[in-house]
């Protein structure tokens, strides 16, 4: 039996659907828990709606990128495993790295002719084991760490803001700099997205169009992608 027949078997679809159902159920449970707490804190429904709407809109474009990842991973790993892995803990970059390491350490290349069922199994094991540390940190240390951070910076909320903003900016810069240095489409994407963001910020401030804020990031991403597509046509 070809390993891809196994990789695309109905049983793996069933397991994937169970995993993703548990994941979605947890998200719903925590949403409702937070909703209840929001009521106790007298946060009005309008604010909640605004936050949820903005978060959902921002999610759409990068989620489409996951479909692109699915298309590149599925020919080697089968649809259900690619679907499960990209829909849960990890990210496309992590899953591709995990799958490739699994293949390489078996002397094969992901999706190539030498990618045997054993190499495929190794990819799956590596991808699965790779997320374990993140879970252990959260299960054992999240509460303690959050408490310590709060204690350390609670005396001065401005310091807290500076530290948190510094962390966020580091994440942003760590993606922007390599893209700019590598030039080409990635550099264009950074520049165009930043320019669109600038224009939208100007409109938001100048015309007091606060409602536009929730669309600013998605529009910037979309415009960058569209322009890069047109440039490469």
């Amino acid at each position: 039996m070809n390993y891809l027949e196994i990789a695309n078997s109905p049983l793996l679809y069933v397991i994937t659907i169970i995993i993703l159902t548990v994941l979605s159920a947890q998200a719903i449970i925590f949403y409702r828990l937070a909703q209840k707490r929001a009521k106790e804190l007298n946060i009005d429904k309008k604010t909640i709606r605004k936050v949820v709407k903005a978060a959902s809109i921002t999610t759409v474009i990068p989620s489409i990128a996951i479909i692109v990842g699915l298309i590149s991973l599925a020919p080697a790993m089968g649809v259900p495993i690619s679907w499960a892995r990209l829909g849960m803990a990890g990210s496309l970059m992590y899953e591709l790295t995990g799958a490739s390491i699994g293949a390489k350490t078996m002397g094969a290349q992901l999706g190539a002719a030498n990618y045997t069922p054993q190499a495929f199994a190794n990819s799956v094991w590596v991808m699965t084991i790779g997320v374990v540390p993140a879970f252990l940190y959260a299960i054992f240390f999240l509460r303690k760490y959050k408490k310590r951070v709060k204690e350390a910076v609670s005396k001065d909320t401005r310091l807290q803001n500076v530290i948190i903003t510094t962390i966020l900016v580091c994440v942003q810069i760590s993606f922007v700099l390599p893209a700019l240095f590598s030039g080409g489409s990635s550099a264009y994407a950074v520049g165009i997205a930043a320019a669109v963001m600038a224009i939208m910020t100007f409109i938001i401030v100048k015309f007091k169009a606060k409602w536009l804020r929730e669309y600013a990031l998605s529009t910037s991403m979309l415009m960058a992608v569209v322009v890069v597509i047109l440039l490469n046509k």
């Binding site: 995993i19 949403y31 978060a55 474009i61 350490t105 509460r143 962390i167 991403m221």
Partner: protein, 234 residues
């Protein structure tokens, strides 16, 4: 701290740890099924080699992500993020944009609760979109296989962070200076492997920013500003 807050926190951590443990075990259903149902297992040598490589990378990267994102996402939101993944490219930006759109301080309790709702909503939206992607995989495959479309969609992450960085620059340009200099040095001099860039950059930048804060680089303290304003007014 009031009792209701403590009750909420206790519930979050109990449910969070429980769901995380159950889910983690559940993810092993895939490789275990491959083994028990079809007898597909990697060779011992290959498995150990794979384990060594992944374990020399991931624990440090995960620690960096944990230390960076735990302070900025509500605890309940963190557990949702843990299961659903895609932190940097989806969940963290979604939560930030959500809170900004309603002018909510991420450090407040309101911020903690609302970031959880933002992350949960984001997780559900992602799952729905991927489900649509799976259902329409065949037509999507030919569409996304076009070279220009493929190149375009590969740029979503740089575009996302380009836009976010611009927003950071105009909100508080001073906080961008240190990470930018540290980042240029790390990336240009190739000090660390790409995978370790982020935690190293964060550690150095936070350290430097802390001292700059102490010497007043980020402006005067709030009380001082208030005092100054009152003095000017009077």
């Amino acid at each position: 701290m009031d009792t209701k807050h403590e009750l909420y926190e206790n519930k979050v951590y109990f449910l969070g740890r429980l769901t995380a443990t159950v889910f983690l075990l559940l993810t092993f259903a895939i490789p275990v099924t491959l083994w028990l149902k079809w007898g597909i297992l990697p060779t011992k040598e290959g498995f150990i080699a794979g384990l060594i490589v992944i374990m020399s990378l991931i624990p440090l990267i995960s620690a960096g992500e944990f230390l960076s994102f735990a302070p900025i996402i509500g605890s309940a939101g963190y557990f949702v993020m843990l299961l659903s993944g895609n932190w940097m490219n989806i969940k963290v930006p979604a939560s930030m944009v959500g809170l900004q759109s309603a002018d909510i301080d991420p450090n407040s309790e309101e911020g903690e609760v609302l970031s959880t709702m933002a992350v949960a909503a984001s997780a559900i939206v992602t799952e729905i979109i991927i489900l649509v992607g799976v259902l329409l995989l065949t037509p999507f495959t030919s569409f996304f296989a076009q070279p220009s479309i493929k190149i375009g969609f590969a740029q979503i992450v740089p575009a996302l962070f380009g836009a976010l960085l611009f927003a950071s620059v105009i909100t508080n340009y001073r906080t961008v200076i240190v990470p930018a200099i540290v980042g240029i040095v790390i990336v240009k001099l190739n000090i660390a492997s790409g995978l370790y860039n982020i935690p190293i950059m964060i550690a150095i930048s936070v350290f430097v920013s802390y001292f700059l804060f102490k010497v007043g680089f980020f402006g005067k303290k709030e009380e001082e500003v208030n005092q100054l304003t009152t003095e000017i007014e009077t």
